[in-house]
Symmetry: C2
Subunit: 241 residues, 2 copies
Amino acid sequence: MHQSPVQEPPLALLFDVFGTCVDWRSGIVRDGEALGLRLGLRGVDWAAFADAWRARYQPQLDTVRSGTRAWTTLDVLHREALEDVLDQFRIDIDSADRDALTLAWHRLDPWPDTCEGLTRLKRRFVIAPNSNAHIALLVDIARWARLPWDVVLGAEIAHAYKPDPEVYLRSVEALRLDPSQVMMVAAHNGDLLAAARCGLRTAFVPRPTEHGPGQTTDLRPEHEVDLVVTNFVELAEALGA
Amino acid sequence: MHQSPVQEPPLALLFDVFGTCVDWRSGIVRDGEALGLRLGLRGVDWAAFADAWRARYQPQLDTVRSGTRAWTTLDVLHREALEDVLDQFRIDIDSADRDALTLAWHRLDPWPDTCEGLTRLKRRFVIAPNSNAHIALLVDIARWARLPWDVVLGAEIAHAYKPDPEVYLRSVEALRLDPSQVMMVAAHNGDLLAAARCGLRTAFVPRPTEHGPGQTTDLRPEHEVDLVVTNFVELAEALGA
């Protein structure tokens, strides 16, 4: 809950992506609404649809974390979860439209401060996503949202999902740095707690509308972090970039 | 030796880096000369030194390719080879200077057309290095030479060295593409031959001074390739980017 004094700046910054860099909820709503308009679907609450889709995410990852299922890409998991969500909302669309809607996760807009902050941070630090998404999905999001990554790291390299320590440690290893030279940036307490336990430094950036206007979780840090800032531009300021 | 007609453009381009994107020889000469000036080393032919250093590269990789040695980073291989080269040139410098000189491989300048070509190509295609260098080295070169990669792929992901097919196939897999949707760009016939055998498309970009003014190898394609261009800007033109 408290903030430790800032020491030497890190050499590299790792970023959570869904929620921290990009606004997944609005992106899914936008593509859902466009699909609804095209197909004449009426009365669908696409925000509730997006929340229901995302709600299946952590239970899906748990099947891999527990070893029940082999590591797989989020494209596969998103597509599987979509089947359930469509049933729940009593929406029937054909297979091509299901495939297309799954790709909504590749077209997510950044938060207003994301690109300016990353561009400034990149001048001084190596910046990379450390996400549960696979490489191809992160590349598409980066190209869509203009996220100027130096390198794409994360779950695919480790064949594990956060908060498994392997994801943090393999990303740090790929940079040939010590964990203490790397800072994890995220809007999620669980992500930062796991990173800190691996020896990384941590920055909490709240994204208070990630889950919509009524969000009650991850509004503030719940564990010791090295930095708390309100957005990526403030993060650049705080780190002298 | 002949060029097949260009079909559909690819979706992603993979690039060899040493020699194809950056001029390693001039970079090593520059840092060698600076070191010589600082330490008062006289009469060193730094171009010959650079060539001797690079000449140890393929035999070193062969020890990994043959399974004699576990996969390792070029930082380790460059540092080991440096010991031999310093002996050969009867140069004695301390360990800190040896470490510093090894990092010359992280500070290599692009060819004059590299950045403009890559920037144009990135508008239309996913672009990534597919090099024998490890990720951290490729990140440093990209930041030094301003190479705007979408993602860093190559030997470290495969834990193999080109021309082992694994390097090409794992890079293609990371992009979730088919080999036929990916084009390998290189100044080296061996690299392109191996890529073509994996089903990738190929573009030959000669770098006739990579090995200095008297270069006799890799001046032209020696196998069938999809494209031959003289530089990366021409490559962008040829691919409509």
